[in-house]
Amino acid sequence: MTQLDVLSPVPGRVIELAEVPDPVFAQALVGPGLAVDPVRTGPVTAVAPVAGRLVKLHPHAFVLQTDDGAGVLTHLGIDTVQLAGEGFELHVAEGDVVAAGDAVVTWDPAAVATSGRSPVVPVIALEATPSDLDGLRPAGPAEAGDVLFTWAR
């Protein structure tokens, strides 16, 4: 069994998924995890929470798949698909392999909030069960790169 550390992609405040204003994430329908309410001080570069291949890359969301097949979804804000990529600058392409902590997307959480949407960033262990996750970081401040939780694989 391996232990996969899943890092915070953005600086901000860790919150429970249940507090995310979207039922799909709040009910952990695609998997358990945590969310980060990002700082609102201007553009933020979201980094890769794990090492792996970018199997899905949207401007506002991306999925990394690790070598052993774990999928981690990072979703930059809620309902941000409606922004159609406006305000999101990609540093990588779908299919690229990245290291944990590499820059993926630069965006502005404050601008998302101004548009009337929540900029909260759910970080999801896709198709995991809650008991697979250990050491969930308690609510409170976190920097990009801090460990959010450890996924037992």
């Binding site: 799909v24 329908l29 899905k56 506002h60 969301a61 698909v81």
Partner: protein, 76 residues
């Protein structure tokens, strides 16, 4: 039937779809008649969950949503 065909049928068929749009985790669908949507059949087709609000039905299928949406559009 493949997954896209099952989901389309469970949404009441092509005639019931106003719009279907993929997000990172889900298909956002607007239907004409939400009573024609079969949640059990959607889950049997592999949906992790279904969130309905009036005529908007969100079918949670995970990160394959964009592929499934393309397949459904090909069927319509």
């Amino acid at each position: 039937m493949d997954k896209a065909e099952q989901i389309l049928a469970a949404l009441g068929g092509a005639d019931n779809i106003v719009e279907i749009e993929p997000c990172a985790t889900r298909l956002r669908t607007e239907v004409h008649d939400s009573s024609k949507v079969d949640e059990k059949a959607l889950k049997a087709a592999g949906a992790f969950g279904v969130i309905s609000s009036g005529q908007v039905v969100q079918v949670v299928v995970g990160p394959e949503a964009d592929t499934i949406a393309t397949d459904i559009e090909d069927l319509m």
